[in-house]
Each structure stands twice: as C-alpha cells, then as structure tokens.
Amino acid sequence: MGLHQFRPLPSGRMGILWTLAPIRDAVLMEFGCMGHMVYAQAFLKRAGVPEACKLYSTHMDETDVSLGGIERISRTVEDIVRRDQPRVIFLLPSSVPEMIGTDLPAVCEELQPQYPNVRLLPFGYGGFDVSLHRGVAEALLLLVKALPADGKRTEKPTFNIIGSCGDMFRFQADAEEILRIMEGALRIKPLCVLTSDTSVKQIEQMGGAHINLVIRREGEPAAKHLKKRFGTPYLVKRPYGVRGTGQWIEEIAQILGMAPNRDFVDRQQKEVKSLIAAAVPILRHFTKEQPTEMCLSLGAHADVVQGILDFGCGELELPKGICWCDCPEMASDLLLYFTEEQWTEAVKTQKKGLLMTSGEALEWAGKSREMQISNPDTKWRINPYEPPLVGFRGAVNLVNIWVNEIFGD
C-alpha cells in the first residue's frame, strides 16, 4: 500500500474483528500484541458498536514470536471459559501471528475436546494483501457455516439481514429503516440482523428465515451457503430512493410469494414525495443551470454508490459527477476504484456540486460533514437514531442534505 496521508484501506483482520464484535453472548479473543485490541475497542466505541461481544487479547512477547509459542492461547481460553462461560469464542490472529504462521484452526482443534460446552471458532484471512471487504465476507460466511442449527422454517414468514456491519457509515440507522419497512410493507419480523444487532442464539436460528436480505455484496457468499443448506432465497440489494425502495419491496414480495401492504407502500411513497416536493425543483434548477459543476459525485462502498446514484441521477435526474468505490476488488468498468492520490485529486476538482464521500475526505476538503456516506470517519457515532440513508426515510434525508448543500454553497 505504501505511503499514505489518510487512513489506508483497513485490513481483512480489521474487517473480521469489526464484524464479530457486536455479537452478543460471545467472546472474541485475539492472539497478538494487546495494543491492537485496545485500539479496536476504542474504535468500536466511537463507531457506536455496543459492548456486546467480550473482547480479549492474549498479548505475545519475543519468546512467543521466536519460538512460535501458543501456550498463551490455551491459558487465555481456559481463563475465559472459567470466568465467562461463553457459548462461543471467536479466535482471531493479529498481524504478527499471521506473519509467523500460527495455525489457529489447528490450535482450536486441539483445545476443543477440553471444552465441550464452548464452541471455539477460529477466523483467518489475515494476509497482508487482504482488505477489509474480504475480511467482512469471510467473517459472515464462517458465522453462517458454523453456527446455524438444523431446523424448520418459522411458521410465519421471517427474514434475516446479512451484512449490517460496524464498518459501514450509518449501519444501525439503515438496518432500522429496513426493519421498519419490512414490518410495514410485509408484516414480517427479523430472526437475525447479522451482525450489528444479534446474538449467538439468533445466528443459530437463521435457518428458519424465509428470505435473506443481503445489504452488501460481501454477504452474498453467506447467503449462498444458507440457500444451499436451508433452501433460503436471498436478495442482494440496498434499497435507496422512492422508486428504488418500492421496487425492492416488490422483489422481496415476489420471492416470498406475498402481496405487499399496498396501503403502507403508497402512504410512504406519497409522504416522501410530499416532503421532498419543495426541494426537488430547486435541485433540478441549480443542476440544470450548471450541469458540469453542480453534479452528484460519490465515493464509498460500491453498493452504496450504486444505490444513491440510482436515486439521485436515476429518479431525480441529477447530473452524474465523479464516482468511485473504496475497494479495488469491487471496481468495474462502470465504477472505478480510486487510490488516495486519485480520490484527493477528484475531491479537489469538485469545487461545487454535491460531493458525498468519507468523513475524513470531507473534513480535509473543508466540505460539509452532512455529506458523509462512508468511512473513514473522524467523529464519534454513538447515536444510532440518526436518519438513515436507505429506504423511504433515507430518500427524504438525502434530498434534505442535498438542498442544504446547494444553499450552503
């Protein structure tokens, strides 16, 4: 990755840790120098991830490094089991054990018979070229491979959300909006919100759901696995905008073979249209007058960019500016990945217009922080009740942000 002035792309290890940390009734134990876990805890607190999963570190010293010692792992597991009696211990290597080649799965296999009532679940994928997104995908997949129990589908339709994770900006508010819409439009309840609001028990029950809603592409391997094992259909999509959210509801209803609650959907769409009615003409006026400058530019997770772009440029017909995604593996001909050098250049060229990207980039560029749609963040986010970016309420929120940005400019 080389030289950076801004936060680099987080590692796969960080993706795994942030994904597992919100799971209740579990313990996450990292094998490695403990300073890392202290930082991770601080990061999670700022990101608004509650102290659900107990976080521990083994630490390691020169002797462990040079001799490949693993005694700390067994002693720490023993201590945790004795005091916390967790149902599951997630074991994660930090960068140093990854480098010296500690075989965590083998260690877990050896220790497991001593703890018949505690599941030891090793996670890996910590190579130096593995980025955050692959770590998130790996964590989601391994969770659904290891924990869901056999069982029948629930009598009444239910669903799981897959991919609501602490690394995404506004992850809690977005998940909450999806739950609200599912309740209102289809009258169905969740079994598991993986992983931002869930417990070990809820993950065990995931096989009972009638549909899996995958809200980021990293969740697709997990959904595929659940489809294979339980036959659960899934939809990979984030709902943005008025029309987009309506279509998303229709697709879910079709998969489930249900009719959506038209009254709810109509009322929601009518309400959004009414709320944004005064602002949309202003947006169009400004963007028509200066289409090359007053355009919508986005830099974030590929699914977020695509969703907001569909709403802004598709539904509202705003001119499209420069768009990029924050993960090289998600780049395509239509959506490029920008390195730090590229995105800083792109941000510099966006003197006017609607630029939505990470908090760090906006702060550096002296732009309004209201335009944040992705991380890295530079602020604390302990309030899960901020308005969402997805769904009907997200549409109102986005238009509200855009019109204020235009007047702010």
Binding site: R7, M14, M34, H36, T58, E62, V65
Partner: protein, 434 residues
Amino acid sequence: MNDTVHLKRLSGVKSNTGVKFLTPAASPGNHCPMHTALASVGRIRGLSSLLIGTPECTTYGRMIIPKATGKNGELHWLYVLESREVVFGCRDGLTAALRKMDAAGAKTILLIATCVPELIGEDVEGILYEIQPEMSARLTYVLTGHFNCNSYSSGYWKTLEALGKLMEKRQVSQRTVNILGRLPKEAHTPMPRLISSLEQRGFPLRYLAPGASLEDFMNAPDARMNLVVSPIGQPLAERMEQKFGIPYISLHNLYEISAIDKAYGDIAGMLHISWEGEFETDRQAALGLQEKAKIKLRGLRYVSTFIGPAMIIPLAAYLADFGMEPVLLHIEEFYPDDKRYAKELTAKGYNPLVCHMVNGASDAAVLEKLSPDLCIGVLPGGRGAFPCIPDMPQVNGRIGYERTSCLLKKILIASDNAKLSASDEVKTSGKGGI
C-alpha cells in the same frame, strides 16, 4: 490452584520479558509504545513523523494524530507495508516516502517502526544513515514493537531519546538548566518547590517533555545540567551526559531524606548557589513522616497495581526500610535502571513476585487471595478486602521532600485503614475481644 505459580520473583527478572501476566486474558490490556510515541510526536512542535506498519497501526494511529498536517506545518504521514515488503523488506518504499516528505517540507522526521517492521528486522537505522546526506530534513527513529514490552511507557522515553540523537554540541550557558520530564504548566502536577526556587533565582529553565518545541530539544545541549523529574527523561539525560558531558541529577526515584539532601546539595554545588535553608520546612515535615512510618508501617504486607508512570521497584526499595513487605508488584515497564533498584530491594531481604496486570476483574480476585494489608495503586474489580491507594499518580511529578511527604501521608492513612479493617475482621470472626 496456585494462581501465582507461573510468576517470577524480582531477582529472576532482567527485562520486560521476565514479567509475566498475573492472569492471561487481557481486557482491555495496555496500549502499545506506538501510542505514546505518536502522542509525544503530536505534541512536539516542529517534529514530523512517518508511522510504518500494518493497516491496523496506521488506521488506529489516526486516533492519536488525526490529521496528516499539524498546526505548525508538521507532516504526519503513514507507510503501510505490503506483503512483498514483509518478505523482502521495505527499504525502497521507505526511502521514496522519506524523499517525498522531504520535498513536501518536513524539517525533522521521526520514523516510528511498529511490530511488523521490527519483527522483519528492517534496518531502519541503516536506511536513515544511507539517505540522510541527500536530505534537508533531519531523520531519527524509534522501534516500538509491542512484543518487547507489556505497556506503553517506552514510547515516551524512546521518542525523547531519539531526539537526543539529533542534538549537536552547543556553547554551554553556565546558568541554563534543562528539566527533563515535565512542562512549565501541568494540569495535575504542582510545580515542585525546587524548580520554582531555581526560576526565582533567575536560572533560565528549559522544560523538555512532550509539549515542548523541537527547537527547545535541539538547543538543550547548551545547558549547565539536566534535572530528571520523570522516568521518561532518564534515557535522554544519560545520552546527553555521554554525548555532551552534561551532568544530570535524577529526582524521580529519590524518597530517602539523606539521598534528597545529597541531590539538592549537588545541584547547589553545580550551580554555585546556596539554598540557605529554603527547603527546611519541607525537609522537617518529611523527616517527621519518616519517623512515624518507622513505627507504623513495620511488617505491613502490600501488593502494588498500576500507579501511573512512577517506578515501583525503587519505591519498594524505600518502603523496605520501614519493614514493609512487598508481596507482589505490578511492573508497568521494566526500565533499564530497575536492575539496580531490584538489587537494592533484594539486598534488604525482599524478593517479591512480579507481574503485569491486564484484567482488573480477574486480577483483583488473585490479589485478594494473597491477603495483603494494603494495595498501592488502583484495584478495579476489587471488593474492598483491603485498603488501596488509588491516587498514587499525585505522587508523580513531585520531587524531593514534597514527593516523600506526599507518598508517606498516603501510605500512613492507608495503613490506619488497614489496621481498622484488620480489627474489624478480628471482631467479626469472634477471635478478638477481651
């Protein structure tokens, strides 16, 4: 089950490696030296940094220094190792990065090498030696691998010492005194009377600690002497003595009155002044407390936990003079100097268990089983089985007679509480009474 069987005794410990965890599951554990190195750099005006490590170190490092550019134009950039560099080294990448920082206007750059660069054995010193002649910026470095230690203190002293490497000889001013380890104003630490007195006598004082400017550090070799008031200043003082012949007097580990008398006398001698009984009131107060301590503290068994930046082993060596028995000591950082104090303590007949504590709840349970009379330091998770002295950090930053008095007052109060709780125990167990 013996919860302390895995621990070493003080006589068997020569470095941080020998200091084992009391209980194994760190939660939350300690920050690493990278944290304090960054915290120091971020507060030294004019000093830029290049943090070398994994995405974890560099991302989380931004919690400490949030922006790439400091208020005074310092550059705080990050270098993330690629997998190829983990195998083959990062010499080329680092060299290119330093050239860019030089071209961007960094005046002095501290390279902070974290665990992985230290582990792969990257020759940071060699790289700097090679590239320095072609650069305008001055370069220095610190190694902050966390696997070498249990805590974060070394990030402070290594950073200050690394600045010592950049210092060049200056013409000595006979009156300038460097104060190593504190700033002129500190929120929680009153100005020691000794330093105020020097100031009143017109000695130009230069405070060298995180918060000073780089210029202050670079000018430091012009001083007549260094006064060390915190452990983080000791390695820099030693380096300056070795490199420039500047004498130093360390005050942060002195408790015994006669030792303080000698240190104050030496300072006066070096500066050609007489204190004229200026500290006599403080001295008498400390002596009085020492006399009380001799009577009241004898035989008290104690454990120590986190006490802030103070070094516990010299403290324990002093308390041994009163017959206080250290049962188990928490070592935050095993400083190079600690070997000397460990010898002193063992020579007085005490060889306590030593450990590092990283989990308040489980550590407290083990300490309670040891049934000490009191605990020096905080005990999160404790059930109040014995009195604690949680406000030990108040002792830090004080020096001389004030430090001794502050310490002894706290211990004497705690020992009174210890005796009270012991007598309560006797009453409730039914073994006491007339």
